[in-house]
């Protein structure tokens, strides 16, 4: 421990701690903007400058360690003035039309400028013009050159957290900006659309393509029957952005809100997650028992970021992906077939909308393999943030709404479907059903909880009905790449592997609400899903009564011809840009 003084308070801090962390631990908050703990400690914005006695220049608090006897002033006249000027300089190259910005009220630059009481900018506004402000309007990820403050967080997140290196600095000098690395276009890049660059952006340099207008158009179309599905992870996070207490942010209130907005049917992706388990668990057992997993495991296929990653980085292994469609896409298929039949309308009349914690789902829904003659199985995909914007636009206060049930039949779910939203959840749900299939009896629903926990690699072997199954779970693409390299080097052998592209799984998805405090929320959100699982009466996908009805009335049984046609996909039916040559 070292002893130092910050703003005349004597404090103790562990050796090696930065001035910023030491101050924060003692209730002194030094303003900062580009700093992102562990990922971006590069002192680029110079907002966290403080005065240190005996030093000639100001010192950045975010990346310099405390020293014994150090005397720091965070609010000396010189520190205050410098901080203010640096924020004003950033503002001079930022499009400050906050009224039309989706991050207004959730923007770190706005917060700092407001907190510092900056009421005018003495510098001329300098915004990029010409081709410098252009970006594709089609791609699900949108980069706004007028808003980007070049804090470099996106580069670091993509490099260090996801190991994808999609972003880099472009050019030098005063025109330096952030762009796709290697002078590529985003559409030609291997971006997996995990969206972590968005959720770690302090402003709105990056955001999802806004599809709310298209949803409003569908809602306004009297010919359309609007059907909405809510992904498991969405319910754990939407309340954060609406100021709801966790106990208020229930799926019942969300259903009520979606009906107020005008959706005709409110369903739950959890139902489709249960359905996915029926197909995927059976597919796994089939591939496992037929000896198809001797060298390589079967990989889960529910996360489109991961599917894109595998197809791009390890194309030779794309055949190891489960052919089961993701819950979103199974939902779309079933909604436009069984459900359409049930309500007696042609599938073309149904507009299938999904609310997802994810941007890659927007791309997944648009894949050529995810459509029939009646159009795409899922028409429109909104992120959790877009849902929140729609709720706010209609001035709906969910806290004041009654709890309403989701509609049947595509709204019924088990605890196993709910936990899909967290890392390990798909594996756990599949193991519950696989154990039942192999032994004829339900296991203890808590029997597989060792696959939960942090994003890093979890390896667990289970014995199910006398058969040993080697399982591995990982989330975050850096972790995924490490796992793949271990597999390739034959340092590990598994039968079944679950990967989700975002750390913590869907709950940490790139479409989730953004913490202006830079808090990583996936842990808390994951726990919310496990709580839902615990209090749901049914906890095995094979016990979902509506899933059973679907098989009885329509599909017959998992993996049969009809199920294959509707619920499985060909991962080779589309090309990934920039796939590695093998």
């Amino acid at each position: 421990m070292v002893t130092l003084k910050i703003d005349n308070q004597t404090i103790q801090a562990p050796e090696g701690a930065t001035i910023l962390e030491a101050a924060r631990a003692n209730g002194i908050h030094i303003p900062h903007l580009c700093y992102l703990k562990g990922l971006n400690e590069i002192a680029a914005c110079r907002v966290c400058c403080v005065e240190v006695e005996g030093e000639r220049d100001l010192v950045t608090a975010c990346n310099n360690p405390v020293q014994e006897g150090m005397v720091v002033y965070t609010n000396s006249p010189r520190a205050r003035k410098t901080r203010r000027i640096n924020v004003q300089l950033i503002l001079s190259q930022h499009d400050c039309t906050c009224a039309t910005c989706v991050r207004s009220g959730n923007c770190q630059l706005q917060t700092i400028a407001n907190d510092l009481g900056i009421l005018h900018i003495p510098y001329e506004t300098q915004l990029p013009h010409g081709r410098a402000r252009m970006w594709t309007a089609i791609f699900p990820l949108y980069r706004d050159n007028l808003k980007c403050i070049k804090c470099m967080r996106c580069i670091q997140v993509c490099d260090k957290m996801q190991d994808m290196h999609v972003w880099d600095l472009s050019g030098t000098g005063g025109r330096t900006t952030i762009d796709v690395s290697g002078n590529r276009m985003i559409k030609e890049s291997d971006c997996t659309l995990c969206g972590q660059c968005i959720t770690h952006c302090p402003v709105v340099g990056l955001q999802e393509r806004d599809d709310t207008r298209k949803v409003y158009d569908a809602l306004a179309d009297p010919e359309k029957i609007t059907v909405v599905q809510i992904a498991p992870a969405v319910r754990t996070a939407w309340g954060e952005a609406l100021g709801l207490a966790p106990e208020q942010a229930t799926i019942g209130r969300m259903a009520a809100a979606l009906r107020r907005i005008g959706f005709d049917y409110v369903f739950d992706t959890n139902f489709a997650a249960d359905l996915t388990i029926m197909e995927e668990a059976n597919e796994f057992l089939h591939r496992f028992q037929s000896g198809g997993l001797a060298r390589w495991p079967m990989f889960t296929s529910c996360c489109p970021g991961w599917v894109q990653f595998l197809k791009g980085q390890y194309p030779e292994l794309a055949g190891q992906l489960s052919t089961a469609k993701s819950p979103q896409q199974m939902f779309g298929s079933v909604a436009k077939s069984w459900f359409a039949q049930k309500i007696g309308v042609p599938p073309e009349k149904i507009c299938c909308v999904s609310i997802m914690p994810c941007l890659a789902k927007k791309a997944e829904a648009a894949l050529p393999t995810m459509a029939t003659d009646a159009g795409p199985d899922v028409d429109l995909v909104l992120t959790t943030r877009e849902l929140v914007r729609m709720i706010r636009a209609d001035k709906i206060d969910p806290a004041q709404l009654p709890e309403e049930d989701t509609d049947s039949p595509l709204g019924t779910y088990t605890g196993a479907g709910a936990i899909f939203g967290a890392t390990g959840g798909v594996m756990e749900a599949a193991l519950r059903t696989a154990a039942w299939a192999l032994t004829g009896a339900n296991p203890d629903p808590e029997a597989f909880q060792a696959v939960r926990t942090e994003p890093g690699l979890r390896e667990v072997d289970y014995e199910l009905g006398g058969v040993k199954i080697r399982c591995a779970v990982v989330s975050g693409l850096r972790n995924a790449r490490q796992l793949m390299e271990r597999l390739k080097a034959k340092k590990a052998h598994y039968d079944f592997v679950e990967v989700m592209a975002c750390p913590g799984g869907y709950v940490g998805g790139g479409g989730q609400p953004i913490s202006v405090e830079d808090e990583e929320r996936y842990g808390v959100r994951g726990q919310a899903l496990y709580a839902i699982d615990k209090k749901t009466p049914l906890r095995f996908s094979h016990e979902n009564p509506d899933v059973k009805a679907l098989y009885d009335e329509f599909l017959e049984k998992p993996l049969n011809h009809k199920a294959e046609e509707l619920l499985h996909t060909d991962h080779f039916g589309w090309d990934t840009p920039n796939a590695r040559q093998t």
Partner: protein, 611 residues
């Protein structure tokens, strides 16, 4: 009323003069990878500010050119804009009245023609094809990418063994380089922007002079693969060192009795004492390398046998053969080649030049070494004859200065014409043809042309020829190694095309170069041979580097190493350069700006901890 008065510069002018010097140093320290169009624009702006305002092309034209370049950078230009830039710059070059205008436009013209692809990339895609790839200037300009800020921080802390260990991660010839490296790392040192580059080489010397000897780290698990290294110079031994650490079984073949190559047989002891070189070699050998000295490929063992016997072969022979003048009389016994002289001395064959007059032909580092060696062999008079000017010599400026300080006489702009022999066939004089410095050649140096002056006679007892070295390639050509202009052909991974398990690098491929480039080539070869053998070994160093001091030292002079000056150098081969004192090393190390922590460096993680 006086008509004439003393003109003193005003206060503003004096301050501006200082700023000019600051700017010149700043340009000198430009990091590699800057946008060339942006730099052109800003050079142009500076040029435009120099205009007197009299003439149209310069006053208006340079301003309009700047506008056009700005459009290119702002993505508002089209390909026609580039054509207009070129036309306008040509018109200004053709019609500006004085150099302020036409030279400014010529710079733009050179750029628009020299990096037109970058102009076009800006116009088409709004992007630049350049970019900063390596964040720390000294690390990026060191061919072996040694972690310079890291070891300077360690020297500042007095952690000399750690400093040496850190350097050895990238360069096992740490001691030799501390004495004789050409230190390209200092060229772009960011400290130039403050006052002057850090004396990096001098600090490395301080570290190696104060570190206790250590064995190499334990090699990785044995792979059972065998590698032959041909040539025990800095490049070969570097490859051998890392390959050995990676767990491969390495055998070095060296044609001389001792290891070290040009470091031992080319560089005189007064610059690099043998025992300093031995420190590096002893350390390298602790990895368990097998060495066969006095073995010459093609004479004692054929290249074909080696290629068959080993899983991989690295050819790292040096440029030990000499180039001839092609002059009449060159075959005289007292006309000797510099490499032969220096090699003989390295082998203990020390001639006596007492009272003799020696002429050394050539302007490179070897010429300086030969001249200073001749003085030490007792020569009464040493004259360095060179056909260009002193400024155009390829030897390092400090080597030239030292040669002059020790008493060698430089005779520039004299092209050797013929050698006068006595009846016994011995050379008695060198005749030279006086030269006139002429227009610039492609290499950026002015070419000499024959002057209208009579031939010049330099009476002498010895003529030492130092006009370049060559490589003996025929033993390798026998197995299909291809050569071009006397150098072995290898690609950038050191792989020899057409030969599966043969790699080559260093002087053998590049032609005569520097120690650090041979080391860098050895490192590249080690990595690629390891990959060829089916491995991906990592070389790393676990030394932790102390955090940067919070703010930097204000402007402060650079510590330069001092030479020992004597009234006579005859017979004295002891080290000339004195290392820094502790006080000097502390001060000099504190001048390092820690570009690993400040600026672009920290963004890219500060350093590569492994390769």
């Amino acid at each position: 009323m006086s008509r004439l008065y003393i003109e003193n510069p005003g206060q503003a002018q004096t301050v501006l003069e200082g700023l000019y010097r600051d700017m010149a140093r700043r340009i000198h320290a430009s990091p590699p990878g800057l946008c060339p169009v942006d730099m052109s624009l800003n050079f142009l702006r500076l040029c435009h500010a120099q205009t007197c305002g009299k003439c149209v092309p310069c006053r208006i034209g340079l301003g309009q050119l700047a506008e056009l370049l700005e459009q290119v950078l702002d993505r508002t230009a089209s390909l026609d804009t580039i054509a207009l830039i070129e036309e306008t710059a040509q018109a200004i070059t053709d019609s500006a009245d004085c150099a302020i205008g036409y030279e400014a436009a010529r710079m733009v013209l050179t750029g628009v023609r020299g990096f037109r692809d970058d102009y076009e990339e800006h116009v088409r895609n709004g992007r630049c094809i350049s970019g900063l790839s390596h964040p720390v200037p000294c690390v990026s300009t060191c061919p072996a990418h040694v972690d310079v800020p890291g070891y300077i921080a360690l020297v500042r802390e007095g952690r000399y063994e750690d400093a040496v260990r850190l350097i050895r991660k990238d360069n096992p010839f740490v001691s030799a380089c501390a004495y004789v490296c050409e230190h390209p790392c200092e060229g772009r040192c960011r400290r130039h922007m403050v006052d002057d580059g850090v004396n990096i080489c001098g600090l490395k010397r301080f570290a190696v002079d104060h570190a206790r000897p250590e064995d190499a780290p334990a090699p990785a698990e044995a792979t059972g693969k065998t590698v032959a290294v041909i040539g025990g110079g800095p490049g070969g031994l570097t490859a051998a060192y890392y390959l050995s650490l990676m767990g491969h079984s390495v055998t070095v073949y060296e044609q001389r009795p001792k290891l070290g190559g040009m470091l031992r047989y080319g560089i005189p002891d007064y610059r690099l004492p043998q025992e300093v070189l031995d420190r590096d070699i002893d350390h390298i050998l602790t990895t368990g390398i097998t060495v066969h000295t006095n073995v010459s490929i093609g004479r004692d063992i054929s290249m074909a046998d080696i290629q068959k016997q080993y899983d991989a072969v690295y050819i790292s022979i040096g440029a030990h053969a000499d180039k001839k003048l092609g002059l009449e009389g060159e075959q005289a016994p007292n006309v000797i080649s510099a490499v032969e002289l220096l090699r003989g001395i390295g082998e203990g064959d020390i001639p006596d030049f007492t009272g003799k007059r020696v002429c050394v032909i050539g302007g490179g580092n070897v010429s300086m070494d030969a001249s200073r060696t001749a003085l030490r062999l007792g020569a009464e008079h040493v004259t360095v004859v060179y056909r260009r000017r002193v400024e155009d010599m390829t030897a390092l400026a400090e080597e030239i200065e030292e040669a002059m300080a020790e008493g060698c006489q430089l005779l520039p702009l004299q092209a050797p014409a013929r050698i006068e022999l006595d009846e016994g066939g011995s050379a008695v004089a060198l005749w030279t043809r006086p030269q006139l410095v002429g227009p610039y050649g492609k290499d950026g140096r002015p070419k000499p042309v024959g002057a209208d002056a009579p031939e010049f006679r330099i009476p002498c007892d010895y003529i030492i020829v130092a006009i370049g070295q060559a490589i003996v390639t025929y033993p390798f050509e026998a197995v299909g190694v291809s050569t071009e202009r006397g150098a072995i052909q290898a690609d950038l991974t050191s792989s020899v095309p057409g030969l599966d398990n043969v790699f080559a690098g260093g002087d053998a491929v590049s032609g005569p170069a520097t120690v650090i480039r041979a080391v860098a080539a050895g490192k590249v070869a080690a990595d690629n041979i390891d990959g060829y053998l089916g491995y991906e070994h990592i070389i790393s160093c676990d030394v932790d580097i102390s955090p940067a001091h919070l703010t930097n030292m204000p402007p402060c002079g650079r510590v330069n190493l001092k030479d020992r000056h004597l009234s006579s150098y005859a017979g004295d081969f002891t080290l000339v350069k004195e290392g820094m004192s502790l006080e000097e090393a502390r001060q000099e190390s504190s001048r390092c700006l820690r570009c690993d922590h400040f600026g672009f460096g920290i963004f890219k993680g500060g350093r590569n901890r492994e390769w």
